[in-house]
Amino acid sequence: MPTNAIEIKDLRFFYGREEVLKGVNLQVPEGSIFGFLGRNGAGKTTTIKLLLGLLKPKAGTCRVRQIDPQEDEIAVRRLVGYMAEDQQMYGWMRIEQIVKWVESFYPAWDDKVTNQLLDMLELPLKSKVKTLSKGQNSRLALLLALGHRPEVVILDDPTLGLDPIARKDFLRHVIDLLQSNGVTVFFSSHLLYEIEPVADHIAILDKGVIIKTGKTDQLRENIRKFILIPKPGNDFGRISGLLDVVKAGNSVSLTVEDCDDAKLTIIKQMANNSVQETALNLDEIFEAYVIGNRGKSGSV
């Protein structure tokens, strides 16, 4: 019976008076690469911090490998490899010093693996952390997260600020080092076209709740865009699963999820002409979910 590496149930969190997470539900299957999407400020970092016990939820629970970070945050942190968003580390330390320092917190630290990673990630031992470039900084943060051979790795926007080559290299390392070893990877990003090739599963967080979750390839297959010239007096809100309505001149494009024959018939009936169907890329899918006009405000 496949278990979930991470389980989040009805999680709520407030920053002062503002409710940032309004009941988040999420399951991350073991061994998957899970992409956590959302706009800036949607609450991705907050969710991740709650998973590590760095913050305390107002309500709800989250578990990493059945351990609740509110009960035993030390156990969760020993189990998880964590890379914070734009992780700043102690600039005065040399790389060899910071590796030794982090190592002293983890009984399970593996020196051999660490040395291999230092070579692979091309990190010069004697350099001070403050002299590292952004790419080197990210690679160092990744190394420090992986040195104790965690089985669950949580990365918060790991490619932030990296140039395109460095980003690709980083994702390459994630796939090669981690997926091959059955490690569960949970990472947040808003560079959607980047997540898609890499992630098995995707969840979209918006306005404090998960608005969509599913396998990456099914996400694409399920959603269709139709362009048509509509008959007057149509109420597009009738179409269930309608994500977005955009008008341009006298044409209308409808983005619909879970499109079956019945829905297709309804849509054809609304059209004056033939209906043109197109597929969408992940950016467009994300937009439809997050800022889509649901057409509920009435007819065309």
Binding site: I175, A199, D217, N281
Partner: protein, 134 residues
């Protein structure tokens, strides 16, 4: 054996399909010859920065369509066309693809003669590309 795959990240074609199409194109034009070894799932995934399960899906489908074959313990190779599916099945696979093209053509009011012309042209282009690599 390195193969050149380019993924268009913002395309609306799913990634696995892009890879399948590109490998097929390379086989058909002779860039990838029969018996050539393709990278392992792990290597190709790392090279393209694509999820290993996606690559696995690609290779599985290409094996099913007899474009590639897996030699246990040895790797994955470009299969020979000769020992492939029976004609009936091959025709069916092509008919599926042509159906979509036919819909487009009819929708855009391209006549059957014009469509035939276009198909012949594509055949010529690919065959000449194949001849160049041989």
């Amino acid at each position: 054996m390195a193969i050149f795959i380019r993924i268009e990240p913002s395309s609306s074609v799913p990634i696995y399909r892009q890879i399948i199409d590109q490998i097929k194109y390379q086989v058909v034009t002779g860039v990838l010859k029969e018996g050539d070894r393709v990278p392992s799932v792990r290597d190709l995934a790392a090279k393209l920065a694509v999820n290993q399960n996606t690559i696995l899906k690609v290779y599985n489908e290409l094996c099913r369509e007899n474009v590639l074959k897996i030699e246990r313990g040895d790797g994955t190779y470009v299969s020979s066309n000769k020992r492939s599916m029976p004609v009936v099945e091959r025709k069916k696979a092509v008919a599926n693809v042509l159906r979509e093209a036919a819909v487009q053509a009819i929708h855009l009011e391209i006549s059957i003669e014009q469509a035939k012309e276009l198909l012949e042209k594509e055949y010529k282009i690919i065959k000449s590309a194949k001849n160049k690599t041989e």
